[in-house]
Amino acid sequence: MQSICLIPLLPGIGAAINGLAGIRYFSRKAAGGVACATMTAALGVALFAFWQLLQLPADARAFDVTVAQWIPSIPLQMRGGAIGSFQVPWGFRLDPLSGMMTLVVTGIGTLIHVYSTAYMADEPRGGVARYFSYLNLFCFFMLMLVLGNNFLVMFVGWEGVGLCSYLLIGYWYEKKSASDAGKKAFIMNRLGDWGFVLGVFLIFVTFGTFDFRAVQNAAATMPKETMHFGVLSFICLFLFVGATGKSAQIPLYVWLPDAMEGPTPVSALIHAATMVTAGVYMVGRNAVLFSQAPMVMSIVAIVGVLTAFMAASIGLVQYDIKRVLAYSTVSQLGYMFTAMGVGAFSAGAFHLMTHAFFKALLFLCSGSIIHAMAGEQDMRRMGGLKKYLPVTFATMAIGTLAIAGIPPLAGFFSKDEILFRAFLNNKAIWVIALSTALMTAFYMARLVYMTFYGEYRGPAWDVAARPAVAVAARHGAPHPADAHAHGRAHQDDHEVSHGPAEPHDDPGGGHGHHGPWHGPHESPTPMTFPLMALAVGAIVAGFVGIPAALGGGNAIEHFLEPSFTASGVAQEASGVAQGFSPAGEAEQAAGLKPRAATEPEVSRKTEVGLMILSVLIALAGIGLAYRFYVTNPAIADDLAERWAGAHRTLSNKYYVDELYNATIVSGTFASGRAFWTFDRRAIDGVVNGTGWTTLVSSWASGLTDRTVVDGLVNLVGRICEEGSFWFRRFQTGLVQNYALLMLFGIFAFVSIYLFVR
């Protein structure tokens, strides 16, 4: 099965073509065509590989491919004196879990690429190629993350998707809020990556290998750390810190709502369907490790369910259509982590898949709405769009029902599986999760009602209006319901999203916003087709996991089972795999509680009862939203006024951003300032002091040189000069003078000789 290495490689080639040549030379259509073609090819290879995988017997479904050696074997001194070897191959592994994930990434990725060709049609030409290059690069890294068979290959993908997320959030980099959001996402992800890296280091130190399978097999033989916080628990905790960054869990979730500054297809692909689920996937990939650390599992479950609850409650009062969906995503990711935390790995992975379908669908629908409203994102300026956007309305309704958990749509099966497993594990978690389900149904129904029902509240349009009038109408007159500051998200969005004033050579199939805005309109076929395809997915994706209680076989759980257990190890002895062994429904239902395993009939009845309860909860949420936002809109405002404090807290997202700003951000600034002051005072002081000392000493040295040394030299010269001034008079140059002097001298000597002696 060498071909599985092609799955990540094809989008990588597309990214290289678009990035190297496309930005300069390709038309919009060519850039989109290259990107879509490579993604479609990758989808084809993935489908083929998946089909091959299904041909294998259930417990041997895995392909391992080593493309090349990345880091050649290096002998290393291990702990305890043994010599280990450090080597990392470019290894890919297709097993049920990564197979499912690969199909999700390539399938939804392809649809979103197709959607993007229309959504980004109004961008400048080079921008489109850049966009598709990033998008393809993202798919390349995401598939590498999914398919990697060791931690380091996964880490390459892990970092790469973070990079692409940054690039795509900041795609409209001229807009400050977008570039800020990109930086925020990147830094938050880095914080998580710090934990992930520490976990990987600890894994290597402990096990001496990076290979998933080898690590799992080794971990399965280690004692379960029920009572103490051992090395496995630390590994899992660090890995989970990585997962909270990537998958936007408490405390690192705040980047995801801001990430909505990116183009909507990006939000759908990266921030809903694929990248943010990487953390969930990673936890699932290391299910054996996590099962050995029950205390960390509890942490995962608690963090997950709290995130789910908190994000859903914030989603209740947001007005930006994409932010509602962003908080919904955070909330649903919380569900997935709850599932992982209570040991229902396959339920979490199942929800990951169904969520990818319906949340991508919802985001693309919101993109279609934003497209129709020419960049408007505030739901208070929408309303009554049902008649203008029939396809978007139908598909969005399907997505909403799916996420709310109405049978037989996809969300129902996966969410109920999680709720049921949470119920078996811990009633408190179950209660929180159930109330989250109520809020989920409510805010999604609210979104649909505010957008598609009621009266049209958006800006007026005129068929013959000049563009200036239309823009002024859109951005000028404040709407009566606009008292609440609805963020900076939609301001300037129109101008920026439609690019700088570059002459557009390609009118994008005659469907741009170049002229006057003609009012809300249905999106073109390349956008509606992915909506319909995803809607079908949101309907049928759940059927692979019909639980036993409803007479299904829960095929997905059996299929994913081998990925969550160690292979070739005595599974019964470890006690981990029991809960998920495909032996029978009883043990499936048991979860981590052996108590339930003895009462299969009771648990099955309980399961049906819980299903009915959660469906009723979902219907209640939808009904409540119908009452609030369709039949009697005043109720919502009344409630908001009566519970003003709570409403304000929710609108401001629990002030978490403010808290982070006040503590971490300003703390960072303060420490930066302190370091700068230290730098300026101490370090610069030493340097400047040295310079000053040199200056002074050289000045003194110069002074000595000038006065003492030069003075001596000059003094000698002056003495000679002054002295010779008189003596040189004797030297007249006249020979007879000299002769006369000689004569006098002789006279003198002779006189002395004659008379003195």
């Binding site: 030297q731 007249t732 140059g733 006249l734 007879q736």
Partner: protein, 100 residues
């Protein structure tokens, strides 16, 4: 009878004439001639005392002096000729370049 005293007086007279000539004349040729007079005054002295003391070394010495004087005359006249070609004068007061 001519006594050594006569020779001494003649010699002294010649010597004085020579010295005065060197001191007071400005023509370099004359000064040169005066130097010859001084040398010959010395020669007279040498020869006279040689005869008086019956010692021939004085005679030999006088001949050496004459030989050296001849050489000196050749060199000196050469210098004077070269000087004259440059300055077109033989006035010794013009020969004052060798000073500070």
């Amino acid at each position: 009878m001519i006594t050594p005293t006569h020779y001494m007086v003649l010699s002294a007279a010649l010597f004085i004439i020579g010295v005065v000539g060197v001191m007071v004349r400005r023509n370099i040729i004359i000064i040169f001639m005066s130097i010859e007079l001084i040398l010959n005054a010395v020669n007279i002295n040498l020869v006279a005392l040689s005869k008086q003391l019956q010692n021939d070394i004085g005679q030999v010495f006088a001949i050496f002096v004459i030989a050296v004087a001849a050489a000196e005359a050749a060199v000196g006249l050469g210098i004077i000729l070269a000087f004259y070609r440059n300055k077109e004068t033989v006035n010794i007061d013009e020969m004052n370049l060798m000073k500070w």
